[in-house]
């Protein structure tokens, strides 16, 4: 019996306003439809199709056998922090102190959430790109902040222009959030464009949060780590992890590196809400850093092959696709069918049993596009392309 029926008015609404403000994934009904169907080829996945290389898992298994099941230091096992800092030094030339400037988190997901909660006051604005990974605006809203969108477009390879960011800056702007290589577009940012953003951030004294979870997945070019740019370190929060590079999505382990005041604040929240990142996951991450490099190289080579197949395949069937140089997503345009992203995706699923993610799920600038993940078998990619090709032929205007 609801409160209304019983004649009772509750003292509170059951769910917080802030949570209600989060737009439910417009994908929900699409996802439910997908779950109810058999024989679907899904290009809607968002994780590697590899299991974690066994030697990494084994290290964790061995640690469990030895009874290594208690909490670790809030910041994370010191060996892991040291190895991660060493990795960042060797790879990008950036120096962070393993004591005080790094925090091991439950994936980049938690690091992002902590970063927002640590630096935002109610009403603070955070500028981000449109389209963007769905958690970005959610984390800002949950922290009491306000997400502000900057449009990006296929014409410019979905890179974000510093001038466009600057136009959106107001007195309330507190930070800029960027995520390259990008989910959903697969776009990467050229170094010069990142330097331009750094200049805007410096000019307006804004913190830049850079989500670089896909940093190792770049093709034909070196990833520029935002934190490696000159003069940015004091006001940058770099987020990184192991999920995509080492196929460790389920382990839930990542990190944030930032100036010590920010890390101290993030650690404070972290110690109340999480205590410490999962111990076996930290052990696995240590092994990954020590011996996992050849596995990363091989997996990235393999993603690259499939990337070429899917981009060519999409173009061949009449869905123009700009070349994604990062992550494992292709973001082709479907406007030739005259349908919007959601209708295209739903109809494609129903008629051809292929699942893709409508680009509109990631923001208004994603409308007219679909996200296709190519971290799946070659056979599945080819079959999906065949079916999508048939579908496009049928509906092309």
């Amino acid at each position: 019996m609801s409160a209304k029926e019983s004649g009772h008015t509750p003292k509170y609404k059951l769910i917080s306003d802030r949570t209600n403000a989060l737009s439910p994934s417009g994908i929900r009904k699409f996802f439910d439809l997908l779950q109810s169907m058999e024989g679907v080829i899904s290009l809607g996945v968002g994780e590697p199709d590899y299991a974690t290389p066994w030697h990494i898992s084994e290290a964790a298994v061995k640690s469990l056998e030895r009874g290594y099941t208690m909490y670790t230091s809030n910041s994370g096992i010191i060996e892991l922090r040291e190895l991660t800092c060493k990795y960042l030094q060797e790879k990008y030339g950036i120096d962070y102190a393993s004591n005080g400037e790094i925090l091991m988190t439950v994936g980049v997901s938690e690091a992002l959430d902590l970063a927002m909660r640590a630096i935002l006051n109610p009403g603070d604005e955070v500028i981000m790109t449109d389209p963007h990974y769905v958690a970005y605006d959610a984390c800002v809203i949950l922290a009491g902040g306000k997400p502000v969108m900057v449009s990006t477009s296929e014409k410019h390879g979905f890179e974000v222009d510093a001038k466009d960011i600057e136009k959106k800056i107001t007195k309330k702007t507190r930070a800029i959030l960027i995520g390259y290589p990008s989910n959903p577009t697969g776009a990467v940012m050229e170094k010069q464009k990142l330097l331009d953003i750094a200049e805007v951030a410096r000019k307006h004294d804004l913190t830049v949060i850079s989500d670089e979870i896909y940093a190792r997945l770049t093709y034909g070019m070196e990833h520029t780590c935002y934190a490696s740019l000159p003069g940015v370190k004091d006001n940058t929060i770099l987020l990184g992890g192991f999920s995509k590079a080492y196929a460790m999505t389920g382990w839930r382990i990542g990190y944030a590196v930032a100036p010590k005041e920010i890390i101290a604040a993030m650690t404070k929240i972290h110690q109340y809400t999480i205590m410490s990142a999962p111990t076996p996951a930290q052990v696995a991450a240590i092994e990954a850093l020590k011996t996992g490099e050849p596995d990363v190289v091989e997996m990235v080579e393999d993603y690259n092959r499939r990337r070429k197949i899917i981009v060519k395949g999409l173009t061949d069937i009449g869905l123009p696709c700009f070349e994604p140089k990062g992550a494992f997503y292709a973001f082709p345009s479907i406007t030739c069918t005259g349908m919007n992203s959601e209708t295209f995706s739903e109809t494609l699923l129903q008629e051809e049993k292929v699942a893709v993610v409508p680009g509109s799920a990631f923001g208004q600038c994603g409308e007219g596009y679909i996200r296709c993940c190519y971290a799946t078998s070659l056979a599945d990619i080819e079959e999906a392309l065949k079916r999508i090709g048939r579908f496009v032929k049928k509906y092309r205007k």
Binding site: S25, I27, F30, F31, L34, Q35, V40, S42, G44, V45, G46, E47, D49, A51, Y133, V134, E301, N304, R305, R306, K308, I309, K312, A355, V357, A361, F362, L378, E382
Partner: protein, 161 residues
């Protein structure tokens, strides 16, 4: 380029030349040419399917690992004897190895009887063979890079944003 092509074919020989061309970033004609040359140079020896015969009732195979001690011949060493043994169709693999024996054979036959016959009638008489030790394989867990039982993998969530 050749290395990339070989890696792709080794993983799945049914990959078409068109697919390989896209994956490697060269033309299909270049792929065809490179493959033909590699076949000629005996870099590509064979295109193979790994079959688990144990899954067919009545067609199970018996595997044996056979250690062979050999008296090496002057000048040619083990090569000539190894070459002779390798000609037998039952010998699937043949290695010269360090340790307590010289040659290691992987032999596959229809029954233990047939494998034992091969050892006694064909192998033991070869000049230079000083002794053999036959180990019958009781169970194969992994062969040619493939896990035989339970290697199916775990299903992923069909949609993750």
């Amino acid at each position: 380029m050749l290395k990339d092509i070989l890696k792709i074919l080794e993983n799945d020989p049914r990959t078409t030349e068109k697919q390989i061309a896209t994956m490697v970033g060269v033309s299909a004609a270049e792929v065809t040419k490179a493959i033909k040359q590699a076949e000629k140079d005996r870099i590509i020896l064979k295109y193979k399917t790994v079959v688990n015969w144990d899954r067919l009732e009545g067609d199970e195979q018996v595997w044996a690992l056979i250690e062979v001690r050999v008296k090496p011949e002057p000048e040619v060493g083990f090569d000539s004897i190894a070459g002779r043994i390798a000609l037998f169709q039952q010998v699937r693999s043949l290695f010269l190895a360090s340790g307590t024996y010289d040659l290691l054979l992987v032999v596959v036959g229809k029954s233990e009887h047939k494998v034992a016959d091969f050892v006694s009638q064909n192998l033991a008489h070869i000049e230079g063979v000083q002794g053999t030790v036959t180990h019958f394989v009781l169970k194969r867990y992994k062969d040619d890079g493939e896990i035989l039982e339970g290697g199916e993998g775990v299903k992923r969530q069909p949609m993750i944003l």
